[in-house]
């Protein structure tokens, strides 16, 4: 058959591609597939056991048993067969009858097992996290959400339709305009290659230069459950151990689902703490610069003198001083992500010694600045989600520069500009500054 040979021609040069002739139910068949996707010996044993039962039955009279093997492919074309093989299916070709069955083999385990989350630590609450395998993730969500109206749609994207994206929502809760918009965009752009979130965001038609991430990513199924309940929509990417929640909102910076495992008072107090953390991180460096270089009269005279004394030997303006140290701190954060866990502590120690003592005694920066920047860096990590912490880390530079020029007035202008920017961001008609509450929930 020409068709089958075309498939072999396209994939045959791969070393892990197998073409295995055998007999099943007294007929000669050829098995095609990638042996790296499945456990070949186990699959073969399974097939033989099945075929022993089929042996006596008549093909056309009782096709049911044969159908039990897998899916009959009526009028397949080469592209379809190739894509089936690439997704891990085993093709069984009955030579004499010219029929093809797509068989789901015993899969090899190509993913981690379910583990605790790596980027979001949970103190009190469920700690199973998503893994690379998309089916496991869907299963985890189904298990956690336990809702009858949970709907999943699979989209095969890319030029040769090999990359899987799964859209998950709850029929009764999902915001209809949001859902419609996402489905429409996904269907329009099915041909795009989605290898990373930038690709995905251009697929959904988001501005690539946005300063605020449009996806809230999480490793935890309970976060997804809550988001679905609030009417948001979740996207899962194959081989991506995070669920992507659309839209990402301002409140996602401050709230995680696990806060609700404590008494309500502590839920609110923790969230309030995170708000303070974000404000501290954004405002404090700018406030330091404006108070030191532009508006020292704002300070109580004792503090003003203390700061002036500590800056006495520092040779450059406070903006340069702050920028210098801020950049070193950014470098430390970046380096500690890059480094393997075993070397990480060394970096912290070196960084601590350099910043804590040496820089001050070398009179390169004032020691008040060290305190200010330590507060800034610590508070940048109180925000929920690394993607959000990136946003506020960048915002603080706007305020820093405006404060250096205009003092407190610049600081306020910067804050208003940031507020305005956040207020102007919308995704699928839902503003970033918006509370999405689940139906019938009083304290959303």
């Amino acid at each position: 058959m020409k068709l089958f040979e075309r498939v072999i021609l396209r994939l045959g040069q791969d070393s892990d591609f197998i073409r295995f002739p055998t007999t099943m139910a007294g007929e000669s068949v050829i098995l095609l597939g990638y042996q790296t996707f499945f456990d070949f010996a186990e699959t073969l044993r399974h097939l033989q056991a099945q075929s022993a039962r089929i042996a006596d039955t008549e093909w056309e009279v009782t096709p049911r048993l044969i159908q039990g093997l897998g899916e009959f492919l009526d009028n397949p074309d080469a592209d379809m067969l190739v894509s089936l093989v690439l997704r891990g299916q085993l093709l069984i070709w009955f030579e004499a009858r010219d029929r093809i069955i797509s068989f789901t083999p015993t899969a090899r385990i190509l993913s981690r097992s379910i583990e605790a989350p790596i980027t979001e630590s949970v103190v009190r609450g469920s700690i199973s996290a998503f893994v690379e395998d998309i089916d496991t993730n869907i299963g985890l969500i189904r298990k956690t959400a336990a809702a009858e109206d949970l709907r999943t749609h699979t989209y095969w994207t890319g030029a040769d339709k090999q990359k899987q994206i799964v859209l998950i929502y709850r029929e009764r809760c999902a915001n209809p305009r949001l859902l419609e918009g996402i489905i429409q965009k996904l269907e329009e752009n099915l041909g795009m290659n989605v290898q990373n979130l930038q690709n995905l965001s251009s697929m959904l038609g988001f501005n690539p230069w946005t300063g605020i991430t449009k996806f809230n990513s999480t490793e935890l199924p309970q976060e997804v459950e809550r988001a679905l309940q609030k009417g948001k929509v979740v996207l899962l990417l194959d081989r991506f151990p995070f669920a992507l929640i659309v839209p990402s909102l301002l409140t996602d910076m401050f709230a995680v689902e696990n806060d609700r495992n404590y008494p309500l008072v502590y839920t609110y107090l923790t969230r309030f703490l995170r708000v303070i953390g974000v404000l501290t991180n954004v405002i404090i460096p700018g406030l330091y610069v404006s108070l030191v270089s532009v508006n020292p009269d704002m300070l109580r005279i004792e503090i003003a003198l203390t700061i002036a004394r500590s800056r006495m030997d520092v040779p450059y303006p406070s903006l340069v001083e702050t920028l210098l140290l801020l950049i070193i701190l950014e470098l430390i954060i970046e380096a500690s992500i890059r480094l393997p866990k075993s070397i990480g502590p060394t970096l912290t120690m070196v960084g601590g010694i350099i910043l804590g003592q040496a820089v001050v005694s070398a009179k390169l920066v004032s020691n008040i600045l060290i305190i200010v920047l330590a507060a800034t860096t610590i508070s940048s990590s109180t925000v929920v989600g690394y993607h959000n912490s990136l946003t506020i880390r960048v915002f603080k530079y706007l305020i820093l520069f405006l404060s250096a020029i205009f003092g407190l007035y610049g600081l306020v202008a910067g804050l208003v500009l940031i507020c305005a920017y956040m207020a102007s961001v919308t995704s699928f008609g839902i503003p970033y500054v918006h509370l999405m509450r689940p139906n019938g929930d009083a304290n959303g």
Binding site: I303, L408, Y409, A420, A423, P431, V433
Partner: protein, 365 residues
């Protein structure tokens, strides 16, 4: 997604008034009357309440769900332009005066050595950027700014009673004031400036943002205590005869506050920076409204009239040398102002009644 945005509307409403009240209002009221300042405040406020009531009622006659631009355009483009261009002129002058005056205040309080063109550039730039982002962004920004600013405002308001001497409240019933002598004083009419910028926006924002007029009226009533506070805090701190000498009586009163546990010396500055953020939003809103009126004349993308307008405002501000010119500009603007806050609402109400009558007749036929 058309939702009730009363919260945002109330936030913008408060912002657009508070920003001006604490700077301009107390000086004028103190000048207009010797004592019993509550009377001119209440009279002015009642007049304002009536006007805002008429305005909202007028909009309501047309179904209450569309902006006055569409309402007037239905009666012909010429009518709409004739009725709204004076408002645009008025708003432009208000924007110029506000920008220039606040730049001056900022310069005298924070940045004595910074050139005023830079201060104005940042103030106007921020406002134009926000106006460019559009109506809904303005309102959402307002909500965020209110959340950040109101705690500070309340803190300063409460702490500024620190040096209050309650004997200054008396006499509550002063003969001079009770004879309504303040009505003959220009300062009383100047004080009305604080009411005039703020409420016209209620007619421009629908149907993008819908609100409940009754709640806006409630928010409006909340303004009375704010007005009283703005005047009485300086009076209680310094007494009328001293307070009237200051350019910015409220800020001078807040300057006297001494909080030992705070690392900052001047609490009033925090109050001031909140007011500045409010003013940025007010300017953005005013500029956005002018652009809406201008776009009626020529259909262009938003940014064209926006940039032209910003350039005009900025250039005019550069050529204003001092407060005296500013004051004169305020006086020249009095006719468009009277038109905007009295004639326009009344005309709208009259048109609204006629429209309702016509519809009733049509329904009967």
């Amino acid at each position: 997604m058309r939702m009730d945005k009363t919260g945002q509307v109330v936030a913008v409403y408060l912002i657009s008034h508070i920003g001006i009240i604490f700077i301009f209002y107390p000086g004028q009221i103190l000048e207009s009357a010797e004592s019993s300042h509550w009377l001119p405040i209440t009279i002015g406020f009642c007049f304002y309440l009536v006007m805002i009531g008429i305005y909202l009622k007028g909009i309501r006659c047309f179904g209450g769900r569309s902006s006055i631009i569409t309402i007037l355009q239905e009666r012909g483009k010429i009518v709409a332009l004739a009725m709204l261009l004076p408002v645009a002129v008025y708003f432009t002058v208000v924007a110029i005066v506000t920008l220039r005056a606040y730049a001056e205040v900022i310069m005298s309080l924070f940045l004595t050595s910074t050139p005023i063109w830079a201060i104005m550039a940042l103030l106007l730039g921020t406002a134009v950027y926000i106006a460019y982002l559009g109506l809904e962004a303005i309102f959402r920004t307002a909500l965020l700014v209110v959340l950040l600013g109101v705690p500070i405002i309340l803190f300063v308001l409460f702490s500024s009673f620190q040096n209050a001497d309650w004997y200054y409240v008396f006499p509550l019933l002063d003969k001079g004031t009770m004879s309504f002598s303040f009505l003959g004083h220009t300062a009383f009419y100047k004080s009305m400036l604080v009411f005039s910028g703020g409420f016209l926006f209620l007619g421009f924002i629908q149907p993008a943002l819908t609100y409940k007029p009754s709640k806006v009226i409630v928010a409006c009533v909340c303004m009375l205590p704010i007005l009283l506070l703005s005047v009485y805090i300086p009076v209680l701190t310094y007494g009328r005869s001293t307070a009237v000498l200051f350019n910015l009586p409220f800020l001078e009163a807040a300057e006297t506050v001494e909080i030992t546990w705070l690392m900052f010396d001047r609490v009033s500055m925090f109050f001031m920076i909140c007011l500045i953020s409010f003013i940025m939003l007010l300017l953005a809103l005013i500029i956005w409204m002018i652009v809406q009126v201008l776009r009626m004349a020529a259909r262009t993308p938003d940014w064209v009239p926006l940039l032209i307008l910003a350039a005009i405002i900025y250039l005019v501000c550069l050529f204003i040398p001092d407060w005296l010119v500013l004051d004169r500009l305020l006086w020249w603007n009095v006719i468009p102002r009277i038109y905007s806050i009295i004639v326009l609402p009344v005309a709208l109400l009259v048109m609204g009644y006629r429209y309702m009558k016509k519809r009733k007749v049509e329904a009967e036929q």
